[in-house]
C-alpha cells in the first residue's frame, strides 16, 4: 500500500519521508570516518579504552544539552544561554554544597541537586515567559540570558573557585569510581537489549496492522547492529581499568544520566501529545493555534525542559571537574546547537530527532577530542568544528531533498 517509509512518521519522528534511517546512517558513517582517521593520525590513541571512556563522559554533557536544544529548535526557537545557565546553576550547587550546608550531612548533596534542578526549571520558565507570552524573539531573550547568567555565575561566589564536592556527588562526573562496574554493566546491557527487542516486535506488529511496509529483515539487521555496537561499547568501558588495578570501570555514570534523558525524551517526542504539539508548532504555529493547541504553554514547557537539562548537565560537569568555577560551560551553547543541527534539527522548525542530537554530540566531541590528541590548538579546533557544522548542514539539506 504505502512505499517510501520504514518508520511511520506518526510513530517515530513526524517528519521527512526518506526519514530517520538515511540520515542517522550517514551520521554514523561520518563518525566512523572521524574515529578511524584520528586513530591513525594519533598513532593509535583515539580508539583506546581510556580515550573512549573520556569521550563518552565529555559527550554526555553536550548530548544532554543537545536533546533539549533539539526540542527548542523544533519549535523554531533557539537557546543561546545554555552554557551560562549551566555555569550559574553549577555555581549555586557548589556554593550551597561546599559553603552553606554542613559538609558531612547526608542530605546535603541530594538537596543541592534538587535545588539546582528547580533553579534550572525557574530560569527556563523565565526565558519561556519572555518568549512565549511577551513575544520577544528567543534569539534576543536567550542572548540576554547568556550575559545575565554568566554574570550571575560570577556573582554567586565573587568569582571564587569552590571545591571539593561531596564524594558521592562526584560519582555523577564519571571519575575513578563514577562508573557502574563490569558485572552491572553487562547486566544493564542484557536488560536493555531484551527490552529493545521486545519493543521492536511490538512496533513491528503495530506497523503491520497500520499497513506499513515493515520488513523483518531490516528490523533484524538494525537490532544486530545495535547489539554489536552496544556490546562493543560495554566491553570497551569495562576494559578501561581503575588506576593501578585490574578492576574494569564499566559504563560511566554520566552515560547513564544521558541514557535516562534520551529514553525519556524519545518517549515524550514520539508518543505524547506534548511531543506532537512541539512538532506542530514548528511546522505551522498558526495551524497549531487554529486547532486549539496551547502554543504558548507548549513553548514555555519546552524552555522549562531546557532549563532542567542545563541543571542536569551542570551536575555532571561540576562533579567531573570537582570544582565550581564561574566560567564553567562557556561556549557550550554552540556545541549543543551544532550537535542538534548536525543531528538533523532544522532551524526553520518542525524537524529534529533526539537520536540524531546524540550522534551529533558524539561527532562534535570526537572531533574535539581527536584534535586534542593530535596536538591541534584550541583555535585550530574552532576553525575545524565551524567548517564541519556548515558542511553537515549542507549535506543534510541535500539528504532531505529540501529546496
Amino acid at each position: 500500500m504505502t512505499t517510501e517509509t520504514l518508520e511511520p512518521p506518526s510513530l517515530a519522528e513526524p517528519t521527512n519521508k526518506r526519514g530517520f534511517n538515511v540520515r542517522t546512517l550517514s551520521l554514523v558513517g561520518l563518525l566512523v570516518v572521524i574515529a578511524v582517521t584520528f586513530h591513525f593520525l594519533s598513532g593509535g590513541l583515539f580508539l583506546s579504552a581510556r580515550n573512549l571512556y573520556n569521550l563518552v563522559v565529555q559527550t554526555s554533557v553536550v548530548a544532554i544539552l543537545a536533546c533539549g536544544m533539539t526540542l527548542v529548535i523544533v519549535t523554531r526557537n533557539i537557546d543561546l544561554s545554555v552554557g551560562s545557565v549551566l555555569g550559574c546553576v553549577g555555581m549555586v550547587i557548589a556554593l550551597l554544597q561546599i559553603e552553606i550546608f554542613p559538609q558531612d550531612a547526608a542530605w546535603n548533596w541530594p538537596l543541592t541537586v534538587a535545588i539546582g534542578i528547580g533553579l534550572g526549571a525557574l530560569i527556563g520558565a523565565w526565558h519561556g515567559v519572555w518568549i512565549a507570552y511577551f513575544g520577544v524573539p528567543s534569539f534576543v531573550v536567550t542572548l540576554g540570558g547568556l550575559l545575565i547568567f554568566r554574570g550571575a555565575a560570577f556573582e554567586v561566589a565573587q568569582g571564587k573557585t569552590l571545591a571539593p564536592f561531596d564524594p558521592v556527588y562526584r560519582l555523577f562526573g564519571g571519575g575513578i569510581d563514577g562508573a557502574l562496574g563490569v558485572g552491572p554493566s553487562w547486566a544493564l546491557f542484557a536488560i536493555i537489549m531484551v527490552l529493545y527487542g521486545l519493543g521492536e516486535v511490538l512496533v513491528h506488529r503495530r506497523q503491520m496492522r497500520l499497513g506499513f511496509d515493515s520488513t523483518v529483515r531490516t528490523k533484524l539487521l538494525r537490532f544486530l547492529a545495535v547489539f554489536v555496537v552496544a556490546a562493543a561499547f560495554v566491553a570497551t568501558m569495562n576494559s578501561y581499568m581503575k588506576p593501578r588495578s585490574d578492576i574494569g570501570r564499566g559504563i560511566p555514570v554520566p552515560a547513564l544520566v544521558l541514557l535516562s534523558v534520551v529514553l525519556f525524551m524519545e518517549f515524550v517526542t514520539r508518543f505524547t501529545t506534548f511531543g506532537r504539539y512541539i512538532f506542530a508548532i514548528g511546522g505551522n504555529i498558526e495551524a497549531a493555534r487554529l486547532n486549539g493547541i496551547p502554543t504558548r504553554r507548549t513553548v514555555l514547557k519546552v524552555f522549562i525542559a531546557m532549563g532542567v537539562l542545563c541543571a542536569i548537565a551542570a551536575v555532571v560537569t561540576t562533579a567531573r571537574l570537582n570544582a565550581g568555577t564561574s566560567s564553567t560551560g562557556e561556549l557550550l551553547e554552540l556545541s549543543a546547537i551544532a550537535a542538534a543541527v548536525i543531528g538533523g534539527a532544522s532551524l526553520s522548525g518542525g524537524r529534529g530527532t533526539i537520536a540524531g542530537a546524540v550522534v551529533g554530540a558524539l561527532i562534535i566531541q570526537s572531533l574535539e577530542s581527536g584534535m586534542v590528541l593530535i596536538g591541534a590548538s584550541s583555535s585550530q579546533r574552532m576553525v575545524a568544528i565551524g567548517l564541519v557544522l556548515m558542511v553537515a548542514v549542507l549535506a543534510d539539506k541535500y539528504l532531505s531533498g529540501e529546496e
Binding site: L210, F271, F274, A280, L290, G292, I293
Partner: protein, 260 residues
C-alpha cells in the same frame, strides 16, 4: 425554528482597519448560508471570530440562544463549531492522521502526559478520508508532499470527523478538481439533510446558487444585504458584491449603498 447561531453587531478592527463592522448574521439548522464579497471584504475575519480564532471587539454571539464568549478555538469545538479554514490550518511536517486529530488527539492520560493512540487515530483518519476521496491512500506522507486537493481533503475530513453542528467552510473547493468539487457539493447536501448549519464562503457564483439557501454579501467589512437565494438573480448578487447596491428583494444591511 430556533437559530443555531445569531451574531449581533459584531465588529473587529486590526489597528486602523475595520475588517468587520457591525455585522448581524443568523444561521438555522439544516441551512446553508453563503457569505460573499470581494477580496478583503471581511468574510474570513467574521468566520474566524465564530471559530474562536479571533476575539471580537464588540457584539454578541448566541449559540443555540445562549451567549458564547468564543475566546478560543477549543471553546468553539466544544460548542460543535468546526471550521475549514481558508489556509487549511495544516502542519506541513505532519501526516494526514496527525493533522486530522491535531489538538484533539485520541490519547490516554498517564501522570502529566497524554499518550497518543496512533493506531486508532490512523484507522479513523483512513475511514473518513476514504469516504471523501478513495484515491487518497498516502496517509503516512507529510502534508508538504501532498497535492493541494489532498491537503484540502484532510481539512474537510477533520470537520466531518468531529461531527460539527455548525460548519464553516472558507473556500473549501478552491484547490479541488471538478470531480472532488462535486463530491464536496454532495457532502454539503448530506450534512444539510442531517440538520447541520453551514456557512459557505465561495467566489464561485455557480456553486453558491447551487448549494446555498440564503446569501449574505459583505463589502469593506459591512453587510450590504442578505437575501433568500430564490429572490435574487446572479446579476443582482454581482451588483451587491461589486457596487454594494442592494436589490429590492434583498434585506439591506448597514453597508448598502444609499440609492441615488
Amino acid at each position: 425554528m430556533k437559530p443555531l447561531i445569531e451574531m449581533r453587531g459584531v465588529s473587529k478592527a486590526f489597528g486602523g482597519v475595520h475588517a468587520v463592522e457591525d455585522v448581524d448574521v443568523d444561521l438555522y439548522p439544516g441551512e446553508v448560508v453563503a457569505v460573499l464579497g470581494h477580496n478583503g471584504a471581511g468574510k474570513s475575519t467574521l468566520m474566524k471570530m465564530l471559530a474562536g480564532a479571533y476575539r471580537r471587539d464588540t457584539g454578541t454571539v448566541l449559540v443555540d440562544g445562549n451567549p458564547a464568549e468564543l475566546s478560543s478555538p477549543a471553546e468553539a469545538f466544544d460548542l460543535g463549531i468546526e471550521t475549514i479554514h481558508q489556509t487549511l490550518a495544516l502542519a506541513d511536517n505532519l501526516d494526514a492522521s496527525a493533522n486530522l486529530f491535531l489538538g484533539r488527539e485520541i490519547a490516554w492520560r498517564v501522570g502529566p502526559f497524554k499518550i497518543m493512540d496512533s493506531a486508532q487515530m490512523r484507522d479513523h483518519a483512513a475511514k473518513v478520508i476514504n469516504q471523501l476521496n478513495p484515491r487518497f491512500t498516502n496517509l503516512n506522507t507529510p502534508c508538504r508532499d501532498l497535492s493541494g486537493g489532498q491537503r484540502q481533503t484532510i481539512a474537510i475530513a477533520r470537520a466531518i470527523h468531529f461531527e460539527a453542528r455548525v460548519l464553516i467552510m472558507d473556500e473549501p473547493t478552491a484547490a479541488l478538481g471538478p470531480h472532488e468539487t462535486a463530491m464536496v457539493g454532495e457532502l454539503i447536501r448530506e450534512l444539510k439533510a442531517k440538520g447541520i448549519g453551514i456557512f459557505l464562503i465561495s467566489h464561485d457564483m455557480h456553486d453558491v446558487f447551487d448549494l446555498a439557501d440564503r446569501l449574505v454579501v459583505m463589502k469593506n467589512g459591512q453587510v450590504v444585504g442578505s437575501a433568500k437565494k430564490d429572490d435574487v438573480t446572479q446579476d443582482e448578487v454581482l451588483g451587491m458584491i461589486i457596487l454594494g447596491k442592494c436589490p429590492p428583494n434583498a434585506e439591506p444591511g448597514p453597508g448598502a449603498r444609499v440609492s441615488q
